[in-house]
Symmetry: C2
Subunit: 150 residues, 2 copies
DNA sequence: TATTGTTATACTCTATAACTATA
DNA sequence: TATAGTTATAGAGTATAACAATA
């Protein structure tokens, strides 16, 4: 069983599978995937609204709302940018960091479970191939794009 | 460059990449990913509201709204189920089929572009590994789960 | 003038609870 | 009683357009 899918089909189906895992993990903290992804991005950065909108590929006004809701729940905070009076820096609170750390660990664990059928060499191979796929060398992308909650 | 990510990281990142492709392709038809996914599911089935809700992992009332909007745009239609007076069958219209066919081709083309850096054997290998990942043999899932617009 | 960010508005997506109709 | 589906409601997520403040 499980006759091989095409490359595209297998990528599309696994993307839904992974998104489903993230959705269930985020839901446990009463968060959406996009909220968890926001927290994931903030783990190693303090971007402004505009940069966040480029990373997430959302309109800046959508980011304002996203950050509003996260801030209301005490997960992130806005601090004034010392170098630019117009700008803010958005950063994780301690509570936000705790939640994203836990969420990342749970996503990791659940995906590892799904991948349990693969041997170690197969896992390394898959990781290597996907790395090249997910980060093509010649990609004129936005700096910092596609860093995600893991 | 592109030092290898962990298996989980590469899966998460590629899932965002693929979802981004689908979002842009669907947006060209002024559709969301979930609407395009709905059309994709209907390509080879005429499920009822309840079965659709299990496939999409949404509440049945969410499916009602989803189908309402698709029907209003002439992409799907509800026909009475001949075997059950309570049920409906949701099916693609001709226009809906045209759109999903085009969308699937575009997703295919865009993902192929991203995968252009891989050799043929690498592509086969990746497809094979992902197939086993995306459809683990021992998965007590809902029948029909995770079929997507491609 | 251009950039950073927010606000106002409208629509889609989603879940919960309550309901109707049929089995 | 149970099942299939819809409706009412509320909230999150998103984009567009217009705005304020700073560069």
């Amino acid at each position: 069983m499980a006759e091989d899918l095409t490359l595209v089909d297998s990528l599309v189906q696994s993307s839904f599978l992974v998104q489903g895992v993230m959705r269930r993990v985020a839901a446990r903290q009463d968060l959406s995937v996009i909220q968890m992804r926001l927290l994931g991005i903030l783990r190693d950065r303090e971007p402004g609204t505009l940069l966040l909108s480029r990373i997430l590929e959302l309109d800046k006004s959508s980011v304002t709302g996203l950050v509003d809701r996260a801030e209301k729940r005490g997960l992130v905070e806005r601090v004034p940018d010392p170098d630019d009076g117009r700008a803010v820096r958005i950063k994780l609170t301690r509570g936000g960091r705790a939640i994203v750390t836990k969420g990342a660990a749970e996503v990791e664990a659940e995906i590892e479970t799904v991948a349990a059928g693969l041997t170690d060499p197969q896992r390394r191979q898959l990781a290597g191939l996907l790395s090249r796929f997910a980060s093509p060398p010649a990609r004129p992308a936005v700096p910092g794009t596609e860093r995600s909650p893991s």
